[in-house]
Amino acid sequence: MINQAFAVAGPFTWLFDPLSHEFMRRALLVSALVGAVCGLLSCYMTLKGWALMGDAVSHAVMPGVVVAYALGIPFSIGAFVFGVGSVALIGFVKQKSRVKEDTVIGLVFTGFFALGLVLVSKIKSNIDLMHILFGSPLGISNADLMQTFIISVIVVVFLLIYRRDLMLYCFDPTHARSIGINTTFLHYLLLSVLSLAAVAGLQTVGIILVVAMLITPGATAYLLTDRFDRMTTLAIMSSVISSIIGVYISYWSDIETGGSIVLVQTIIFLLAFLFAPRYGILNSQKSIP
């Protein structure tokens, strides 16, 4: 009897039962949204070779979030200022010293991150450090949901308007410049949307794992296609699907949501790594020149 009842209700239960909770509907919505935004951006990050930069910016927004909370302004503004500021600082130190770029990046972002940790412990506020570090889509407030929504719209609009120019900038910046495209603008545009996307990603998976949102979907899609447009579609799809599955797993298994989302992304990447039609290691003997 019990088995029978379970068999009938089972599939519907795991799918629809969570949806009866307001917090789950919101968690799914925000995770899917952030997944889509970060998935689209991840294509540019992987093609430009900015994984480390993504890591740097996402960590560097930490003190900005804390300061913004303390001042009572939207945390995305503080995060944006510190995200872009960290990149400017990286550029400045690299230019003015003989230290190599990857060292400067590592140095600056850990410095910013440490500053964030110190500020959290020093500034009296109701910020939950764990929420910033590991994300909490299940407990997202209305204000945060609204902010994430606005950020997502801004990022997607800019990425859609400049998608061709950004692709060209990643592929052949010299040609882009020689036909009169302002590559300095594109560079800072990409950095700005990176800072914004990091703030959005922070909501679902937290600062520590947000870099995964910014590179894994792009890397997965890169193994699956040789077309840029298809790559963006696949990256968004895999990212959104990972986010939704991750939230469901988190709900049913009572595990940490951010970790669960990123783990699903990693598993999808591993599947592509093994089984991708052309570039998977099990199929690659004949095609890679």
Binding site: L168, R177, S178, I179, G180, P289
Partner: protein
Amino acid sequence: MIDSLRKGKATEISRIQANQICVDYNGLVALYDASLELPGGCICGLVGMNGAGKSTFFKALMGFVRPSRGNILINGQSVKHAQRDQAVAYVPQNEGIDCSFPVSVWDVVMMGRYGSMDIFRIPRESDRKAVWHALERVELLDLRRRPIGELSGGQRKRAFLARAIAQRASVLLLDEPFSGVDVRTEKLMAELFIQFRNEGRTILISTHDLSHVRDFCDLVVLINKTVLAYGETSKVFTSENITMTFGGMPPNLLSGPITSEDSL
């Protein structure tokens, strides 16, 4: 020498005109007092050692570096203006390109049209026609759907040449166009260069390979931090001048392809 070449079309504006340009990077002089005037419709070799200022000269023509003194006119206009008119196309060396980038040959050639499109870069019928035509000319039409990474070195070179054709540039800057290309591509490129010249385009080829200069170039520019000499290849491309360009090394290197490392 140039004057004789330009006889009969004296009313035409020079394609490239550099007047005593100086370029320095934070005080380090890369190019000084370099003057040059190239007419429309010529193939010109830019010859010099590594570090002689070839790439700096290219960068100045593309508007990437601003001369600290002197000025450059392309088609009688400022470099910035020329850029907006899509007048200058740069064909990169193979090494400078990420071959695993997920774009097709068609996509790459379409990039030549971006400058003429609106902000969203949505191709119009005329853009597609231009790309089709350009691919036809470099004999890559059959391979237009291929990812750029699956082309041979020579085919890739032709793809970037097609991009310059699609751009309808009047000045083509080619960086070591003959390095790492197959015989078919080399022959095709030589034919194309002659067609370009007859269409009135000016082709500036930066190269170490002296034998190609003699085979393809009407004019030659010898540089070493400044323009040492320029003019018709037959008159300027002498052993003394080449010796001077390569810092006093004997010109017996003329017999075959050389690299600057050999000549240093």
